[in-house]
């Protein structure tokens, strides 16, 4: 249908001015659709679908929350999206097949896993230069930078290790051997513990950052689900330090763990093949990406109940939220 262009711009202006535009928003990357779904967190509905590069997987926000970084794996680049306009404003030299990444607290250095090349690439988000490439194990995947900015930790799936990279020298200092196929790492807020999931091993290791040794290994059991199908991937720690949530992949459940006693408190049924998660800015809800069912489950954190599922694109992978 033909619309005169001025109507469109008027509409856009009206939208930008309205309080609806201020509502908290979630962005979800759809791996097999080459799109992002935008979810309004007031109504819990998809309001927009944005085309991006090929095979978008990991997504993260800049520290000032004005830009979104997108691993466009099959385009071999990290795209930078301006969140005010939803336009791609830059393509960073990420190395081949970027999958996951993490931003240093300095808001400049981006640590990127190059899954096909057994490398971690460090890119300056301001100058767009490659600062370093660090050789790691086979199929690097998870990335996390410690809150104090000292460590960048990478997981290599086929090598089954966590690699500790000194962010000053960009040298690999140490390796922690974990169970098969480590997928994701997450530092606690204080930075003294690191949680790492092992997908095929079926465990989550909690590591003392000072000694870089495993202090506790979590196992999961769900009635009626074969242990081999319980495959931990995403890990999220609540801001109050009370809980850890672990996405269990094809087990279609999220485990709720007491973050101090390490006891598994509950298993919440979500969509199929759950991988990654993010809290809403008010910490009231946790969103999960469910690849096979192509939807996002919304968990009410106070009630520990799944309250809604939101249909997004094909193979939703990463999720971020902002005010």
């Amino acid at each position: 249908m033909f619309k005169p262009p001025f109507v469109k711009s008027l509409l856009l202006a009206a939208l930008l001015a309205s309080p609806v535009a201020q509502a908290a928003t979630a962005y979800v990357s759809n791996e097999k659709d080459n799109t992002l779904s935008v979810i309004d967190l007031e109504t819990l509905e998809v309001t927009q679908t944005i085309e991006v590069g090929e095979r978008p997987r990991g997504i993260i926000l800049s520290k000032d929350r004005t830009k979104l970084y997108i691993c466009a794996s099959d385009s071999d680049t990290v795209q930078v999206m301006d969140l005010a306009t939803h336009k791609i404003i830059a393509n960073l030299p990420s190395g081949e097949d970027p999958e996951q990444f993490s931003l240093h607290p300095d808001d400049r250095r981006l640590y990127i896993s190059n899954e096909d090349d057994a490398l971690v690439t460090v890119v300056d988000t301001v100058s767009h230069e490659v600062l370093a490439q660090i050789e790691v194990g086979v199929e690097p995947e998870g990335m996390a930078v410690s809150p104090d900015g000292r460590w960048a930790v990478n997981t290599s799936e086929t090598t089954s290790m966590l690699h500790w990279i000194d962010t000053e020298t960009h040298e690999l200092i140490d390796n922690t051997l974990v169970d098969q196929r480590p997928r994701h790492v997450e530092f606690t807020k204080s930075g003294d513990r690191l949680w790492g999931s092992s997908e095929i091993g079926g465990t989550v290791s909690i590591i003392n950052v000072a000694s870089r040794e495993i202090i506790k290994k979590l196992n999961f059991q769900i009635r009626g689900i074969h242990p081999d199908k319980i495959q931990p991937v995403g890990v999220k720690l609540s801001a109050d330090g009370k809980y850890a949530f672990v996405a269990l992949g094809p087990a279609n459940h999220v485990a709720v763990v007491d973050a101090s006693s390490y006891e598994v408190l509950d298993y919440l049924l979500v969509g199929r093949r759950v991988w990654h998660m993010e809290f809403t800015p008010d910490q009231k809800y946790l969103l999960t990406t469910n690849g096979v069912s192509g939807d996002v489950s919304v968990i009410d954190v106070d009630d520990m109940k799944v309250i809604k599922s939101i249909k997004v694109g094909r193979y939703p992978w990463g999720v971020v939220t902002l005010e």
Binding site: P93, G137, E139, E157, M161, L172, I173, D179
Partner: protein
Amino acid sequence: MKLLPHLLTAASLSLPLWAHAAQTPLEIDIGYIGFEPDHGPVLSNILPEPDDAGLKGAELGIADSNTTGRFLKQRYTLHALSTPDAGQILPATQQLYDQGVRLFVLNLNRQQLVDVEAQLPDDVILINAGSADNVLRTEQCVPGMLHTVPSRAMLTDALAQWLASRRWQRWLILEGNQPEDRAYADSLERSATRMGARIIERKAWDYDTDLRRTAQQELPPFTQTDEYDVVLVADERGDFGEYVPYNTWYPRPVAGTQGLSPVTWHRVVEAWGAAQLQSRFEKLSGRWMNSRDYASWAGVRTLAEAVTQTGTTEPGALHSFILSEKFQLGAFKGRKLTFRDWSGQLRQPIPLVHPRALVSQSPQNGFLHPKTDLDTLGFDVSESRCSVKGDS
């Protein structure tokens, strides 16, 4: 977009520091012996099989293990022989043993495996990555031998489960004239019994017509029997089987060694990180990874995983570890793989593929087992006389 090589000149390529693994480097020597016989003339000879199948898988296994090994001060070296000359196999194996190699991945047939084991002293690990022979897992157990290649029974059970779930239970079996074809057809019969399928007829293809010209005339009458739901072909080297689809008397699907096939591995497998394994393999070899490559890759990775976890190269210790509950192999099949501690067989899901797509993966839902549903494929403990633990 390939920005990297250009930018690398300005970037510093940091090399790892060996902080934790300060001990002396561990050298791990793995022998690979591959028999690549000439399979004789086949009717369907348009797309030949690669003659380095298996070897390239072992090479990738070494490359993958060395990437891990760098961080642990472990260095893996492959000593490979791939030959069409059966006479070279025993001397070459002995020579490697005399040079100190104790870990072997063998892409050989049953008799060659038996001979190699008989010749070498006991302080070795032998991994069968070549023979699908059921007898090696049931009656003629080779002491201590591990198998990363699935038995024929695992393949035919995987197919039979899927056929049962589709309720295609009336089978016509067509077999070729090679001993392997008869073994495959026998394995199909065993699977039929297990899954409650009925064999309408078992027919041997022994014509020497060139089917490239005459399949349309020959095959419809050949497959004119009582009505069946599916035609199962047992033709391992691909002599006549390629011409069966679309030429059956009844309009029915074809499965087995052609048509819908149960395989160890295939290019169309891409889930569970397999896409990365496929792309590493293609980079190394310039071709697709096949079942033999996968079995040899898994053989090398099994040895390397055990070395990484135990920190030793001593064959006895590695053998016990591989057969223990602690061993787990991440092998791009969606779950961890372990070994059956009676027959030494690697448990594994079996993809069911046609040449351009993955159709399914067995075990199928609903086929239950008290220990693991993977043991619904192939020979369970009660069906096997082997005791790989005791006789190692």
